[in-house]
Symmetry: C2
Subunit: 413 residues, 2 copies
DNA sequence: GGCTTATTGGATACTTCTATACAAAACTCA
DNA sequence: TGAGTTTTGTATAGAAGTATCCAATAAGCC
């Protein structure tokens, strides 16, 4: 007896998940590549591919790839077959967006964020904002494929919770996924913002780099580890917490965390702002620091370069421990360009053994404001299209399509 | 047309690799577990399993597991179906062994090692030693399944070469795998000894820990990273090189590597021996240090504890960066027990955020001399039985068995 | 000992996938 | 323009795997 789900009337769809996964992840984007990658026969691949194209999930793109003979048609997922709802929770605002499967932003909005409101209130505000974006997106982009949240705190990814004390009082151990499941009928993801920025940078610009280290130098300092092409999270999801590594020395500055001499207290945006303030400038955070840097104030340049050396000190530890082939420096301070980078490079090349540095690249991230949003979309995208879970997506999609031909416009609120 | 290989006459063997892999890796060790894990039907599993048992690769063990009804028979690979040749290259000696698939040592030998001989001479000596061990092993343990080498230097695992300048002059970039392929017709592996010790410790005692950090504190200091259950090697295979992380401070000691203030120059066995010598003791290496510790010499105890604090300093960096759930301390200095461990614990708990330490365990490794050998065996074992490669093994094994006629002439077919 | 439970083996009809061959399509290059 | 090359589609027979039913087996439990 066939399964009692969306694939019931389409036998060829039953096992087509593998094909969809290969296309979505970019592992195989032509019919012949699919043949090789899947190990299936041409008959089977053709059959399943046609079924997928029929559902609208996959389409033939206009592009072709030269082969010597008849060029191969490039396949891709139809970016408009579904959409994600993503949110980036910042310090004082929340950035919401509906994103297609490219991923690209379809529509977006911003709402104020008050950390003291607690999770239930803020999640309700986010959900309300999502509802508005979803109503628009549903008209042009099919159904909701996933919800993905970027948090400015450590997150236990598996459990979908903020962990450890942080600026977000009341969020610690709050069941975010559980709460959102009550409002949205789709897979839900919660992840730390730095890991998402690292994901975006990797997928967008360095997809073929196996081991990458991403440093976010902003008001605070954090990092994301890409090991074997995947985000490495550690036991509690706290991996990459380089901001509070301590260096012992005399007159170690006091950190926000209560310890002395943390990296962040020496090189974070707030620490540089602190030092600039004591020299008579007005600066509170990383953005203020960068403004002064852009005005070419010598004190700001000097302090930024010196911050680079501090970050370079941790970076050299990381290089010794992880031996990445690429370090990407992002965050607000990265807008300071070479003034920051040169200090990092200096320390890494000074301290690390040549074996680890001879093929090491240290570069700036693309300054992009929505990096965490894109990372959040990639996270959802890749999980949803992963081998074990695609079949669910296919079911979901075919059922949704079977329902209304959706011509009549308005959606009630 | 059937494949023209060892499985030609046994159709049921053709796709039985998955079954074998599941059993060998311990993922599924009973018939019902195999059914679930493989997703195949019982008929197919039974058929393939029988084929595997017939070849002698798999056998039913005497053990059973209670189930409420008829207990399930526990399956396992037949440890005597094949053997590995493994070698651990030390500073002045090479430890050779033939190991079964348990893995357990079948027979062993030791030959002197002279680093200045160069790779060709030493590899020839190793191969000669292997030949003797193999001749014995072949009589009782089937055919050679793999050759695995443990090196006291950084190794680029993928390319099978020693990389970076080290104590082993002439070995840098020498094609070890290529050389050994001329002598042995089996897969060949070369890996750094610390990674192998970490592998052994993980597989033997902490198989279900995902993220583990292994510190080898001996004459030198190194480490092995287990991330997601697998050894993490980094871009050049140089990951885990914590011995040469520098701490800036006044009167930083000079390291063997030419830099100032490396961890090894502060806390390595040779550094403690150096400090003990300057206090009138006779000590050259980690073993000498431990002898003095075992004699309860206060100076030795003090220096060991202080070395623990230095190691703890790097360990705390590692905890911040990787967030492991377990740190295992091995190597000769670990024989100093709590005197070493307490210093490590002290610094880690002092420096790291509670989130990262609240479930962190810091323990001593089992003091076992052959740790690297076992690690080398596990390395070969797991690769050979991995999903993509088992089929080759089956071919190889069935051909080998078909060749030497045990009784007389032809096998009925 | 009988009852229950769960594993294990085997036979059958049926579904799914493959191998193979042939044909058409779409590009390059001379 | 036509030959060469590779991709793509489809029909067919046959191989491989599954579902299902029935039966035997080996424990624990009362």
């Amino acid at each position: 007896m066939p399964k009692t789900n969306g694939t019931a009337e389409r036998p060829a769809l039953v096992n087509s998940g593998e094909i969809l996964s290969l296309i979505a992840t970019g592992t195989a984007t032509s019919r012949s590549a699919l043949l090789e990658a899947s190990g299936l026969s041409r008959v089977t691949v053709t059959q399943r591919l046609n079924a997928l194209i029929e559902t609208g999930l996959v389409r033939e793109t206009a592009r072709t790839m030269p082969s010597g003979g008849r060029p191969t048609r490039v396949l891709g997922i139809n970016e408009q077959a579904g959409f994600f709802l993503v949110a980036n929770i910042g310090e004082t605002y929340i950035h919401l967006a509906a994103m297609d499967l490219e991923p690209a932003i379809v529509s977006q909005s911003t709402i104020p964020f008050n950390a003291s409101d607690g999770p239930a209130v803020s999640l309700a505000q986010i959900s309300d904002g999502f509802d508005i974006l979803a109503a628009k997106a549903r008209a042009s982009h099919g159904s909701l494929f996933g919800v993905s949240l970027s948090m400015p705190t450590p997150v236990d990814f598996k459990r979908g919770r903020v962990v450890g004390p942080s600026v977000l009082h009341g969020w610690d151990e709050f069941d975010i996924i559980g709460w959102l499941r009550g409002r949205f009928d789709a897979p839900i993801y919660v992840e730390n913002d730095v890991n998402l920025m690292a994901t975006h940078e990797h997928r967008q610009n360095f997809r073929h780099v196996d081991d990458m280290f991403f440093i976010k130098a902003g008001t605070g300092i954090g990092s994301g580890i890409v090991a074997g092409g995947k985000i490495f999270r550690g036991a509690q999801g706290a991996a990459g917490d380089i901001g509070h590594i301590q260096f012992s020395s005399e007159n170690a500055p006091l950190c926000r965390c209560g310890k002395l001499g943390c990296v962040e207290a020496r090189a974070g945006g707030w620490a540089i702002a602190r030092d600039l303030s004591s020299r008579g400038f007005t600066a509170e955070n990383a953005r203020d620091v960068i403004s002064l840097v852009e005005m070419q104030k010598p004190e700001a340049l000097m302090l930024l370069r010196s911050a680079g050396r501090v970050i370079g000190e941790v970076a050299s530890d990381v290089v010794s421990i992880l031996n990445p082939s690429l370090i990407v420096v992002g965050g607000t301070l990265a807008r300071g360009g070479e003034f920051l980078l040169s200090g990092i490079r200096e320390l890494v090349y000074q301290r690390c053994l040549p074996l680890a540095t001879r093929e090491l690249q240290i570069v700036l991230a693309n300054p992009q404001k929505d990096s965490a949003l894109f990372g959040a979309a990639y996270l959802a995208l890749e999980d949803i299209f992963s081998l074990g879970k695609v079949e669910q997506l296919i079911d979901r999609h075919t059922i949704d399509r079977a329902r209304p031909p959706s011509q009549s416009g308005a959606i009630a609120g």
